[in-house]
């Protein structure tokens, strides 16, 4: 007995039945006018029999379904149009078909809204699908993958792992929906139940697009190489074995040894043999100026040198102060360096064995003037206001309400001093003194002289001032040589002969080392290079 299936409940009925025995629905679509029951008849089978057509039955389709159909048809037409524009045959595998097949079974249902009403052996059975369509069912990503494999490319994740498999979700639809069986609610278990919402048939997991980097094998090789290089860079490399004693070390030790031996030799072994300099113009000028000082002349002495050069400046200044104090000068000690007052005190104590100086009566230590040029300018402008007390806290100057010290009695301004002597080792300090005091010294009305006892390193810097006309610097005793020359001028025997001998030997050896060593250091490598070049030419 032939049977037909109810389009509503899907149950078999005898083919002669007009209505379904189970749900009383029309088993065959009615011809002609429309009734209430016609509203329930759905042209599913006929539509599907002619493929995707069924336009002649549009009038029987409800609005919501016809809209759905129209939208699908529009999409299909657009696809066909676009394919035609590309010049491809219309019967070739087109995108819309690929899209249908690419979306799998769910897409079939999408294309034909009547699919849920079809029996299980509907169009989704693979044997009904031609092989060309079956090929197109291969997922798009799988095709990409095949292409990649053919071209030797492997998709990699950020860490370079192969991620070609199992990480992309393919669109699926639940088996219940594709088979048209309701799985929830009061109609659970029934087949062919129209979904409450047509879009429900499209439910699928959103397509995931892989953000993985695709690199070729050659690029992969480069990545590996770069990684290995970077790893090597990060690793601490063992330093090349450093030579504990280099050529420079040996040279430095050699120089130190030779220099020390040269200094020690006259100190330890020999007695004083080196002659003092015959004549030194700057020292002679200082000697002349001191000799011309009046009785009990006030002399301002600046101690502006570092303790490290005390040996040089103390030695150079000693004969000058011997002469100065023998002339009965009264000293005012001052400094623009914090260590200056202590150096001044130390120096005075060192010459105390010969000259019994009484503090306050014959000398006074005013201490430290801060501020360099500012402090010095302030002192030149206003000595009493700038340093009112000595370093010991005594009132330095005689004022209306205070008694001063005899050594500074009669001093109201800087020009009341007969002479300014500066012991200095620093070019900037010397320049500051000369610049601030120079205009006062060169003033013809000021009867004051300015002499320098300097370290040897200052001679080129202060000599332009001494060689000027008018002279801001009137006399110059430079280093050990100047001190020795001064000692010779005044006929002093106190100048340390051991230091002078060692100095003579040291300067001679230094000149010799620089000359011979420098030439040797330059010539020997040049000669050896020339010899190597000649050997190469011979070969």
């Amino acid at each position: 007995m032939e049977e037909t299936y109810c389009p509503l409940c899907g149950k078999p009925n005898p083919i002669d039945n007009k209505f379904c025995d189970f749900c009383l629905a029309h088993l065959h679509p009615q011809e002609g006018g429309s009734t209430d029951s016609e509203a329930l008849s759905i042209p599913g089978i006929e539509d599907n029999q002619d493929g995707l057509g069924g336009h002649e039955s549009d009038s029987n389709v409800p609005d919501w379904l016809s809209e759905l159909q129209q939208s699908n048809e529009m999409e299909n037409e657009e696809t066909l149009d676009s394919e035609s524009e590309l010049g491809q045959p219309a019967n070739a595998i087109s995108d819309w078909m690929t899209g249908v097949s690419g979306d799998g079974e769910a897409t079939v249902g999408e294309v034909s809204p009547t699919a849920p009403f079809l029996p299980d052996q509907g169009i989704n059975e693979s044997q009904d699908i031609p092989h060309w369509l079956n090929d197109s069912l291969i997922e798009e990503e799988d095709q990409d993958l095949l292409e990649d494999e053919r071209s030797g490319e492997v998709p990699l994740d950020g860490e370079g792992r192969d991620v070609s498999r199992g990480d992309s979700s393919s669109p699926e639809i639940s088996e219940d929906i594709s088979s048209g069986r309701e799985n929830a609610g009061p109609l659970a278990g029934l087949r062919g139940v129209l979904p409450a919402e047509p879009g429900a048939a499209r439910v699928r997991k959103p397509r995931t697009y892989s953000a993985k980097l695709k690199v070729s094998t050659s690029q992969r090789a480069h990545i590996d190489l770069l990684n290995s290089l970077l790893e090597d860079e990060g690793q601490p490399q063992p330093l090349p074995p450093r030579r504990s004693i280099s050529q420079q070390h040996v040279l430095r030790w050699g120089i130190a040894l030779v220099l020390l031996m040269a200094i020690l030799w006259p100190i330890v072994i020999t007695s004083h043999e080196m002659p003092f300099p015959d004549y030194d113009e700057g020292s002679a000028e200082v000697n002349r100026l001191i000799s011309q000082l009046p009785e009990n002349a006030r002399v301002l002495v600046g101690f502006d040198f570092e303790p490290g050069l005390a040996a040089e400046l103390d030695t150079a200044a000693a004969p000058v102060f011997d002469h100065l104090l023998s002339e009965g000068a009264l000293l005012t000690l001052i400094s623009t360096s914090p260590s200056g007052p202590i150096l001044a005190e130390r120096f005075i104590q060192s010459i105390q064995s010969d000259q019994k100086l009484i503090y306050g009566l014959e000398y006074v230590n005013l201490g430290y003037i801060p501020g360099g040029a500012v402090g010095l300018l302030s002192f030149i402008e206003n000595p009493q206001g700038t340093i009112p007390f000595t370093i010991d806290g005594l009132s330095a100057w005689e004022t209306e309400d205070r008694n001063g010290l005899p050594a500074t009695a009669g001093i109201d301004q800087i020009t009341d001093y007969s002479m300014v002597i500066l012991l200095v080792d620093d070019p900037d300090t010397a320049r500051t003194w000369i610049e601030q005091l120079g205009p006062t010294i060169t003033n013809p009305q000021a009867l004051m002289s300015f002499v320098l006892i300097t370290s040897a390193q200052l001679e080129p810097v202060v000599r332009p001032y001494y060689e000027s006309s008018p002279q801001p610097v009137n006399g110059l005793v430079v280093g050990l040589r100047g001190g020795a020359a001064y000692a010779r001028i005044i006929g002093s025997d106190d100048f340390p002969g051991r230091s002078w001998d060692a100095f003579g030997m040291g300067t001679f050896v230094a000149a010799l080392l620089i000359l011979v060593g420098g030439l040797g250091y330059y010539v020997i490598p040049e000669l050896s290079r020339t010899a190597r070049d000649q050997e190469k030419v011979k070969r």
Binding site: R252, P275, I342, N382, G506, A510, G517, Y522
Partner: protein, 205 residues
């Protein structure tokens, strides 16, 4: 922090002090004297602040666990002992002089002594590193001056002593005078920039 008051102060006091070099009005002279005296006090304060800062920095270093903390402890020991002794007895007292004579001077003079070895070493290597005319002129000058600064065993090389004097009075003076003029021009330019408010090293810009 931008503050025109700071700039105005710097320019104002600077102009008063600078004009005092050239003009001798009583008011200007007195004002200048007062400004200079205050400045010397401020410089002394700044020096004291520097010492306090040095103490703070090395105190922090010495109290944290780091490899060079011994150096900081040595510095703090030197600083506190000196300040204690010199501050209590006075900076020119015998105890203070003991520290000065037997600690400060030996160290600094020894450092200067090392410099002599380093200078010879540099002189020896100069021709190797820069073999040109200027290096030869430099070395030749240095050798002549060195030989004739010392007594040279009483040996009189004809013309060498005169050459040393001539170098000191003519070419060296010429070079040094050029350098001094250049330095003074630089100082004037830098100072004028401050007095015009173009440079504000006190945080006025």
């Amino acid at each position: 922090m931008r503050n025109p008051v700071y700039t105005a102060i710097a320019i104002g006091v600077g102009i008063v002090v600078l004009l005092g070099y050239f003009l001798q009005f009583d008011l200007l002279v007195n004002l200048r004297i007062v400004f200079l005296e205050w400045a010397t006090i401020l410089v002394a304060t700044a020096l004291l602040i520097g010492v306090v800062n040095l103490f703070i920095v090395h105190w922090r270093k010495s109290t944290t666990d780091q490899p060079n903390r011994v150096n900081s402890i040595a510095l703090l020991a030197g600083l506190t002992i000196t300040m204690g002794v010199a501050g209590w007895f006075g900076p020119t007292d015998l105890y203070s002089l003991w520290i000065f004579n037997y600690i400060l001077i030996p160290i600094e003079a020894s450092l200067m002594g090392i410099l002599s070895v380093v200078l010879i070493y540099a002189g020896v290597r100069l021709l190797r590193r820069k073999p040109n005319l200027l290096s030869i002129v430099f070395i030749a000058t240095a050798v002549i001056i060195l030989l004739m600064t010392g007594p040279l065993f009483g040996i009189d090389i004809p013309g060498l002593a005169e050459l040393r004097i001539w170098i000191g009075k003519v070419p060296a003076v010429a070079g040094a005078r050029g350098i001094l003029l250049g330095v003074s021009l630089g100082i004037i330019a830098a100072g004028l920039r401050i007095l015009m408010g173009a440079d504000r090293p006190y945080g006025g810009n």
